[in-house]
């Protein structure tokens, strides 16, 4: 059980406080309800570029990092298709420095031309390092627009293309900030060995006078239901053929989200999973294979990916893979197999809650989903899942018309 308190400031900022008496450290985690899905198709990569700019100085404080380091702390952030999350970890007695820094950049940024110019270059190098200069690095740049036709999940957080980042202007930056970086669009979590009254006092002190703004309405293009199989083959300078089967799945708030999560575990999480045992150990068609879900807030993907063994073909793979998927639709899973998947989930949750930062981040994510207490209810939802649920869900989503396939062919094998 993860205990927490929740309160709200007049300007709309939601605050979660999680007390942990065992640690000398504190965490200040700020989740902004904005991600790559909130970008326009002509200006992609913006939420992520903006995350970089948040470290380029705020209205009253020229440098974000140095004061935090002086307080013995450090900071980082990440952007996904759904959210942008910033965190500071520092000795508890210096927590006010983190609140001072975070509240000032929520108030307003410095918006210097130099910061924009440099961070554009840094992000372009990040684009190259992670997506262009790695074998299989551009797979998600290809898979997303293939799987999604309308929904903004069709572009990656880094952006659709480098030119969108190159062309970002100061006006774009300012209006993005005005729209998305207001208290009502943020969830703040304070974690550490404090008293609630003290937390209320210091949070009100630093955040209380930030002007309120209306939480922006989110009206995203709806993804039409997929009705036919989609497939694409790309050729790349890679040593081995690779494959990505993607199936649309329910959104994060839907209880069936958890059912699909277990299905993906059954298929390809561990070395005891169905695809690993069948396609790698028994039939020796692949050198590796795994299944996972994207964890998206809107309709996400269950992905099965891996690499072919030398001399094996995509056709052999396809037959064997569908045989394994069909098993789940023909026969209900045994209680024994389900128990094996559940103990893994339970063990993993226990480890993930070992860390203070993880707890703070998860509390914010669940609060965004509707209630921070969701963190304590998750296990119950998993425990209620039975073989029948998995059987019905498999029949619904593990079907060809719900599938998108990307094949990466090694160039020397292309002929």
């Amino acid at each position: 059980m993860i205990e927490f308190e929740r309160f709200k400031l007049n300007n709309g900022l939601t605050v979660i406080f999680h007390k942990d008496v065992t640690t000398p450290m504190a965490v200040v985690n700020t989740l902004f309800d904005v991600g790559a899905r909130d970008e326009s198709e002509e200006k992609t990569g913006f939420a992520h570029l903006f995350e970089h700019l948040m470290f380029g100085g705020s209205v009253n404080i020229p440098d974000f990092d140095a004061p935090l380091q002086n307080a013995g702390g450090e900071s980082n952030a990440f952007t996904s298709n759904d959210i942008t999350n910033y965190y500071d970890v520092l000795p508890a007695h210096n927590i006010e420095t983190a609140l001072w820094l975070e509240s000032d950049r929520m108030l307003s940024l410095a918006f210097t031309d130099k910061s924009l110019e440099v961070q554009r270059n840094v992000v372009i190098e990040e684009f190259k390092q992670r997506y262009l200069n790695q074998p299989y690095g551009d797979v998600w740049l290809e898979l997303r627009p293939l799987a999604y036709e309308k929904h903004p999940y069709k572009w990656a957080t880094i952006g659709k293309e480098i030119s969108h980042i190159e062309n970002a202007t100061m006006d774009d930056v300012k209006s993005f900030f005005q729209k998305h970086y207001s208290p009502s669009n943020a969830i703040l979590c304070i974690a550490g060995n404090f008293e609630l009254e003290y937390v209320k006092e210091i949070v009100t002190k630093w955040y209380g006078d930030i002007p309120s703004a209306k939480k922006p309405a989110r009206i995203l293009p709806l993804e039409p239901e997929q009705t036919k199989f989609k497939e694409k083959t790309i050729e790349r300078e890679v040593p081995t053929d690779a494959f990505y089967y993607a199936f649309k799945m329910p959104e994060r708030r839907d209880p069936s989200y958890y059912i699909v999560d277990i299905l993906s575990d059954a298929l390809g999480r561990e070395k005891s999973s169905r695809l690993y045992v069948s396609l790698k150990k028994e039939k020796q068609i692949v050198s590796n294979i795994s299944a996972y879900i994207t964890g998206s807030l809107d309709h996400g993907l269950l992905v099965i990916s891996g690499k072919l063994n030398d001399g094996k073909t995509f056709e052999e793979l396809d037959v064997a893979l569908w045989e394994t998927l069909d098993e789940l639709k023909k026969n209900k899973m045994s209680e024994e197999e389900l128990a094996r998947l559940m103990i893994k989930i339970r063990t993993e949750k226990e480890f993930s809650e070992q860390g203070l930062l993880n707890r703070a981040m998860n509390l914010c994510t669940f609060e965004l989903l509707g209630d921070a207490n969701g963190i304590n209810e998750e296990s119950e939802i998993y425990n209620a899942i039975e073989p029948d649920h998995l059987y019905e869900m498999a029949k619904q989503i593990l079907v060809k018309t719900n599938c998108t396939l990307l094949k990466v062919k090694a160039k020397q094998n292309a002929k």
């Binding site: 002086n70 190098e125 190259k128 200069n133 074998p135």
Partner: protein, 419 residues
Amino acid sequence: MLNRTIQPDLQSIERIDFVKPIIYDITSEVKLFFMKDVANETTRFDLYFDAGNIRAPKGTPAFVNGLLFSGTNEKNSTQINNEIDALGGFMESGLSAENSVVSMYCLRENVLPILHILTDAIDNVAFLENEVSELLADKKQAFMTNMEKVSYLCQREFQNKLFHSSEIYSTVATEDFYENVSPKVLKKFFQEHYQNGLTKVVVVGNLEQDAIDEIIDTVGKWAKIGSGKFEKEIQNLPGENHLEKENAVQTAIRVGRILFNKNHEDYNDFLVLNTILGDYFGSRLMANIREDKGYTYGIGSMVAEYNNLGYFMIATEVGKEVKEATLNEIKFEIERLKTELIDEGELDLIKNYLLGQLLKSADGPYSMMDLYLSAEAQGLDFSFYNKAIEELHSVTPQRLQELAIKYLVWEEMTIVSAG
């Protein structure tokens, strides 16, 4: 009215409470380190073996490490994986130059059943032909993929030149590693370095004394007799090398030299110098090469440690067209450390930052154990960190300048680029 231009008052860290693990003698040389104070149900145990990459030529240590759970005459690998997964165990096996480590993460209620499955699987591993050839094919494929990455190409060449004077430390993987491996050779290595190669056991978790005794009884038979030899002196090969890779859009760069580990009198102060240069987000290399020039997504420097030595390294990936410019800026920042005294304000910031990071490294039983192990591997204990805190308080700009002049000599650096 709130004044937002002034930073709230800071308190410095007065002391850090280090909690030493309980130490059990498995034999006079092999010990078990136990950290009991875990607030939830999680448990981890690690088995350390003297079976690192330096213990045999070519890929033998990696193959044996990769085959530890590949099946016995009674159980195949899938059965073993099934049994461990059914108890919720997450297994990791790691290999470095000087160690092979098998780690298990699980709930405490399952720790002993998992231990027995795991030790049976290891002790009776049969090196079945089909498993050996499957692993070789997988490893070869992974190697071919890695060879497409400029960071891997660069690091591989750097390692080769860095450990130049020692044949075994400087060995890097080549394509012929993955051909003609005989189960006989693997078996012999296994007997020598696993069944008679256990060097350390680590347990973190709220376990009772009985459980610890059972762990010792179960794995004690593998305890190594005598201690393994590790290289004390290696010379790196200075000079610049470039590996051309067609179509690469970035160039990876490594600059470094052989140095020392925690046992050297200059270590603690050098660590401060290293942090200033490149080991935190506001470091001089980051400030100049990322935050001012925008040449890279990231650049950093580090001190890596072995049992008896260490090395210093700067690593980055930059736009192909700015490789020379980046090397010039690295050189510029190194020269600046030798010619200009570090500003007191910058040094204070580093001191506060490093103390905060040490406090974080000692937060919670898992971190505390890892912090302890990092000293223990070099024959030290927590008194090392207490001494480090004292030295951190007293280090001066003059002292750091001396160290820069002494160790950051461009002509003594191994420089490799790939791209």
